[in-house]
């Protein structure tokens, strides 16, 4: 079983600071991390490998410093990593990103055939969730998005069964291998990295490819040039009216608030049992 996990380096939006003057992101304040969903994707690949045997590779597209997320993936238990890094990839939207990653996947697969690709549900910087299904189309393998459990892998029959989260509940899906999964956080808990992995990660040097290493690539489909979408304009959302401030001492504020709420008392069920 050869599983490739696509991992992206993203700014940590949890501790990101917003510049109150310009209302934009202060990038220097944001440490770069492995996209949290992708960490779960790597963990799941490692879990599957422990059941079936095989190899877990990770693949990332990004600037040279994205090596950090590959090392992080090695800590979680990936066996090897590939970084595609080139000016030509810069400014890619989801269509161009999935093209570049699928080209790298084809190259990886020439050396060791790929049985499964796993992506995160989405990257927390853009939140699109479009890259995974895009890769699947380009490789012409079935995509299964929003996976919350890999229930069974039947290697002899070459298929697997997963649970896919739905608006309400989930569905049980069977798919032939190879296929592509995008995973939710609920799929697993990230385990503590064992010491040998940490040591391996610290020393690990991933394979780095530029565009020319990828073989036959249509450069028009890469980066900014290959991206049909552009940001037209940025604007602060129309200032909403805002309502009334309830002023005064705490008691007065409370009384006024209770008056307002009591007008909608039909909506409340007063529970004073406790």
């Amino acid at each position: 079983m050869h599983i490739v996990v696509c991992v992206k380096q993203v700014p940590d939006t949890k501790i990101i600071k917003i510049n109150p003057k310009t209302n934009t992101l202060d990038r220097r304040s944001a440490p770069a991390i492995l996209n949290p969903y992708d960490a779960h994707a790597v963990q799941e690949a490692v879990r599957i490998k422990n059941l079936t045997g095989g190899t877990v590779s990770v693949l990332s597209m990004g600037p040279p410093q994205a090596v950090a997320v590959i090392k992080k993936s090695i800590e979680i238990g990936a066996d090897r990593g590939f970084l595609i890094s080139d000016r030509a990839f810069a400014g890619a939207d989801t269509l161009a990103t999935s093209y570049a990653l699928s080209k790298a996947l084809e190259k990886i697969s020439m050396d060791l055939e790929v049985d499964m690709v796993i992506c995160g549900k989405h990257a927390i910087d853009g939140d699109t969730g479009q890259v995974g299904p895009g890769i699947a189309r380009r490789l012409d393998i079935p995509p299964i998005t929003n996976v919350i459990e890999v229930t069974r892998i039947n290697l002899p029959e070459g298929n697997l069964i997963v649970k896919r989260k739905q608006i309400s509940g989930y569905e049980l899906i069977q798919s032939e291998l190879p296929c592509l999964l995008t995973v939710e956080k609920d799929i697993n808990d990230i385990e503590y990295a064992p010491m040998p992995n940490m040591i391996k990660a610290a020393r690990y040097e991933p394979v780095v490819w530029s565009v020319s290493d990828l073989g036959e690539v249509d450069r028009k489909q890469l980066g900014l040039k290959g991206s049909p979408t552009i940001v037209g304009k940025m604007f602060t959302p129309p200032k909403l009216e805002g309502g009334k401030m309830i002023e005064g001492a705490l008691e007065e504020q409370l009384n006024e608030l209770m008056d307002i709420l009591m007008e909608r008392k039909d909506l409340f069920s007063f529970n004073n049992s406790k």
Binding site: D125, D127, E171, D186, T229, G232, K265, F270, N271, K274
Partner: protein, 341 residues
Amino acid sequence: MEENRGVWVFIEVNEGKIEDVSLELLGAGRKLADKLNVPLSGILLGYGVKDLACQVIYSGADAVYVIDQPILKHYRTEAFMKAVIQLAEKYRPEIFLYGATPNGKDLASAVATDLSTGLTADTTMLDVDVDKRLLEASRPAFGGNIMATILCKKHRPQMATVRPKVMKALEPDISRKGSIIEEDLNLKEEDMRTKVLEIVKNVTKKTNLAEAHVIVAGGKGLGDLQGFQLIHELADTIGASVGASRDVVEAGWLPHEYQVGQTGETVTPKVYFAIGISGAIQHVVGMKNSELIIAINKDPKAPIFDVATYGIVGDAHEIIPKLIQQFKEIGREKGGEINYA
């Protein structure tokens, strides 16, 4: 080259019922189509769904393209994608909208790849530049209280997934007329690589934030897990559901299904309490259509006050216990457990 014309909406059907978001998109799509002076069409796929076509027309469409076949009984990317692409290549729409649901996002991503066109995710505002015939799909930009308008200038159709509950559906008008166009799809079950084995609905009463009438939502301002208990207590006292900001979820005080906002639920309750929530755009897009919004925050400049119907500057730790106490007193006056709901 023949030009693409018309606005399309993917009609998502689950258990024989059209998803609300599809009806909302018909409402939004109607406006775009009128501005561009082109027809609005619904794309209805499934098995035994034909009868729903009228409803699509009542909700604003001029035409419905239907493919009704056993192979489309359950949503599967590979089958639905083929159906949509076949229709899109034949009739060439210029704008194509999908609900930002698991299926809508999955389908749109696959279709965009095959049609080599642009797709904007999780849109919360839609407009169109009539002269340039450009869809203006806006969404909260990464970080900051700022929106970005995404354009797709050279490729057609221009596609977007749109958040549920941010657009308004039209009142169904049963006198509306439209055309229903049935199409065939040449796909064999043997060629399918995926199978839906089972569909399991959520039977346990879970958060169901989307349907709640009253939501008490808390943010990072509650301080810690202990402080957040006040939110649960208030919600409990008035029979409300609990909601949270993303930072609360990230801190692990609540699981993700309680998150309100861009990457959580969009909610439209009758009363929404936002307590200790700063009001970042990503949160606000998920709750601003609530009927009555009560904000409590100790920072008078917090942006949440711009969306609140009523705002109180103050300390949640002081105010909530008093509020709980008042509600409990009212409950007692009313003679115990009286349920007004």
